[in-house]
């Protein structure tokens, strides 16, 4: 998938970390913060600009779970799959969302409205199971509540 992106948006990032190849992870985080994913053009630009081989950028970016290579949906739904959440029923919550959205964890709906992600642990284990939509944290989830919250997000727009 190739879309044109505005490379000037990451100029400040490249300036800030100029000459500091060791900051690669922070740079990638800031690029993702700008575009909400790591577009190939941006990585090529980074490679040329900072003289970091593309192979190394790709090696690092694919190693860490945080980085995505495709455009995410408008809303990102994260379901915690940590131990406390597992014991308290998060697999059911995930199944319900998979069923409602007809995509698997790590995928985005065709209309780019929702992305579904599974997360190792948010550290809010006392409120397990936990689900996060964009920046909103929802604790003590059930399958029914998950479907209802999703419905609310679908209804907004």
């Amino acid at each position: 998938m190739s879309t044109t992106i505005d490379l000037s948006l990451i100029e400040p990032v490249l300036q800030k970390h100029k000459g500091r190849q060791g900051d690669l992870i922070a740079i990638l985080q800031e690029i993702q913060g700008t575009y909400s994913y790591l577009p190939e053009e941006a990585l090529i630009h980074l490679s040329n600009n900072m003289r970091i081989p593309m192979s190394r950028i790709y090696a690092v970016a694919t190693f860490y779970a945080q980085f995505r290579f495709t455009r995410p949906g408008e809303h990102i739904i994260k379901v915690c799959q940590g131990t406390a959440c597992h014991v308290r029923g998060s697999p059911g919550v995930m199944d319900a969302l998979v069923d409602e959205l007809d995509i698997h964890a790590g995928e985005t709906t065709k209309d780019f409205k929702f992305s579904l992600e599974s997360i190792a642990c948010f550290g809010s284990c006392a409120l397990a199971p936990v689900m996060v939509v964009d920046k909103n944290i929802y604790g003590r989830m059930t399958t029914a509540k998950a479907r209802q919250i999703l419905g609310e997000f679908k209804g907004v727009k």
Binding site: I25, A26, Y64, T83, V87, D95, C121, C125, A126
Partner: protein
């Protein structure tokens, strides 16, 4: 202004705040509080105060650890003890403000406890409650008390006095003091901290680093997050003391990206340290200079391993390397490096403040001091706790935790995250210390404690952990990369009812192999959940294999849902909610599950009203045949007038 002058000023301000003529409202706004809705409660407090024209001070504080009753709001009226209100909703706020702030009725019906010397009739003392009484709060002493974004509140309570003492000593004396305290690494492995510092100190070289490991990756653990959010300066003071003792001038905090609030508060704390001359060149007028950098992780469990973490700080893939050389000799950028966990650093600060002897007075002969745990899973009172080492598991789970949800039977407690093990009921009376946990096949770990009940299948639980470690394996060494994969395949086979008795033996053999030959701690400990469940719950494995039965009725391939026609009230709730329309029925028609369509998601069981409880789960035995359609008519009992 010297630090002592700052402290005098800070104490005056703190005392003035305590005896403020205005009422004070404290609200816990750490991540847990926020997940439970603290921010909307905070908004309501502001609105209501404005509406009634009440002049009050609002303080946002860290987490006191009572996560199960978040959000927590404390009110202090002049001349009255602090009263803690639990499970506060925006609807309760007007009552508290109108009845207590305006009319002086403390609403004992809504209060959980009081904090302080004096009491209020009808309200117990908070620290007399069973969840708090057995706790000894040293590391967490400030959490929920001070404003983590105000360095002065930390300074007022002896903050940075440990650093002042250390700077007046030789670095050898500081290390001696840490050794005397008996502190062992709180990140999991339990290596004596003083000795670790000494190794790094005696390594040749002038350029040395220290690292704070805040990559709390164990799912089910959030102690470090709470500490960083609630009292960041205690960790930073410990790092300064350690850096001075070791001879390092630069330090890194490696914090996982999932903890944005902890990072925000660390940044604020570091800025304030600089303002007060606690960072930079010639700290507090001494020869000691130090800088701290924060590095955000990017989501890799293996980066909790020290050599992988250092690779990640250097901007590389976080892959462990063989040791030796140990980081104390060759660590970050090839220089001598000392790495400790968040809690160990905070312990070091309090040890220097109050003395090694004082610290060593809690704990056992070989495990000194206290340890924080996140007590979660199927216990009634989940939360962040701090207990003296040596406390018995039963006192934690039944005393502090209040027992199992719905008074079900306890099955196992999992300590140490994916690297730890599952301990059965027969070990409930064993003490929580480094030696006992290791002997039982588990580890102390960083402090995750997940309690499970009879509804947890131990094979599925082991599979869950293996699934995690297998996907987090960095792939560098063969035993971990392939061993965990094969183990996961076997466990999956067993949970699907396709396992054989030979599989169990193969699993054991593989587990031993991975444990002995993997490159790093992740691989060495990955088999622990499997080994301990096999050691204590082998019968469950055998049931899956021999009788195709999941005793906990969890493994989907081995269970069937069934609506008991005697109990079904034809209410149509499950009929409507079934996501795959596998339930046949209708108004006044007893519902029946079409077993061919059923995906075993469990929704019907979850939504069936408890007063009917019409859903049964079968495993290892045939499901009764459904009633023929002609007999499915439901005769509703006439309601009596």
């Amino acid at each position: 202004m010297s630090l002592e002058d700052v402290r005098k000023q800070a104490i005056i301000e703190w005392e003035a705040l305590q005896h403020s003529p205005k009422p004070r409202i404290l609200i816990g706004t750490a991540t847990c509080g926020r997940a439970a809705g603290a921010m909307s409660v905070l908004d309501t407090i502001k609105q209501e105060l404005q509406r009634h024209n009440v002049d009050a001070i609002i303080n946002q504080v860290g987490c006191i650890g009572l996560c199960y009753v978040e959000p927590l709001v404390d009110i202090i009226k002049p001349g009255r003890p602090r009263i803690c209100y639990a499970s506060v909703t925006p609807q309760i706020i007007p009552k508290l403000i109108e009845d207590y702030l305006l009319k002086d009725n403390p609403r004992p019906d809504l209060a959980m406890g009081t904090i302080g010397e004096s009491t209020v009739e009808g309200i117990p003392r908070l620290f007399d409650l069973p969840i708090l009484k057995p706790q000894v709060r040293i590391v967490l002493r400030h959490c929920g008390y001070i404003d983590p974004e105000d360095i002065k509140q930390y300074i007022a309570d002896d903050g940075y006095s440990g650093l002042v003492k250390a700077l007046a000593m030789t670095s050898e004396r500081v290390i001696e003091e840490i050794k005397k305290s008996g502190l062992k690494g709180r990140g999991g492995a339990g290596f004596p901290t003083g000795q670790k510092w000494e190794f790094c100190r005696s390594s040749p070289g002038t350029e040395k680093y220290i690292i704070c490991n805040a990559d709390e990756g164990d799912p089910g653990a959030f102690m470090n997050r709470s500490l960083l959010e609630g009292d960041p300066h205690s960790v930073l003071e410990g790092m300064l003391i350690g850096a001075y003792a070791i001879g390092a001038n630069e330090g890194y905090i490696y914090c996982r990206a999932e903890y944005p609030l902890a990072i925000e508060r660390l940044n604020i704390a570091i800025k304030q340290m600089r303002e007060y001359g606690l960072l930079g060149k010639n700290i507090l007028g001494s020869d000691f200079s130090f800088e701290i950098h924060i590095k955000e992780g990017a989501g890799a469990f293996v980066c909790g391993e020290e050599t992988a973490l250092m690779g990640s700080i250097e901007g590389k893939r976080g892959m462990p390397r063989p040791r030796p050389p140990f980081p104390a000799v060759s660590g970050l950028w090839g220089k001598p490096t000392n790495i400790n966990n968040v809690e160990s650093w905070a312990d070091a600060a309090v040890i220097m403040q109050k003395g090694a002897q004082w610290y060593a007075s809690s704990g056992t002969a070989t495990s000194k001091g206290t340890k924080t745990f996140s007590l979660v899973g199927k216990v009634k009172r989940t939360g962040l706790i701090e207990v003296p080492l040596g406390i018995h598991l039963r006192d934690i789970i039944y005393g502090i935790g209040g027992g199992i949800v719905d008074d079900k039977a306890f099955k196992a407690v999992q300590t140490g995250g994916p690297s730890g093990g599952c301990l059965p009921a027969s070990l409930l009376d064993s003490p929580v210390d480094y030696e006992s946990l290791t002997k039982a096949g588990s580890i102390m770990g960083s402090g995750g404690m997940v309690v499970t009940d009879e509804a947890t299948c131990m094979v599925d639980f082991a599979r869950f952990f293996l699934d995690f470690t297998q996907s987090e394996s960095c792939g560098k060494c063969v035993p971990c990369r392939l061993g965990t994969k094969r183990m996961l395949e076997i466990l999956t086979r067993i949970t699907e009812g396709k396992g054989t008795e030979e599989d169990i033996n193969l699993l054991l053999e593989l587990a031993d192999g991975v444990k002995d030959s993997a490159l790093c701690g992740l691989g060495n400990t990955a088999p622990n959940p499997v080994l301990t469940t096999l050691r204590y719950f082998r019968d469950e494995y055998e049931e899956h294999v021999k009788n195709h039965r999941c005793p906990a009725k969890v493994c989907k391939a081995l269970i069937s849902y069934y609506i008991n026609p005697e109990k079904c009230q034809a209410c149509m709730i499950c009929y409507r909610q079934c996501p795959v329309k596998a339930i046949e029925g209708g108004k006044d028609t007893i519902h029946v599950i079409n077993q061919d369509k059923c995906t075993k998601c469990g929704t019907c069981m979850a939504v069936c009203p408890t007063r009917f409880s019409a859903l049964d789960v079968f495993s290892g035995e045939p499901v009764p045949l459904p009633l023929p359609p002609s007999e499915r008519v439901f005769k509703r009992a006439k309601r009596e007038k």
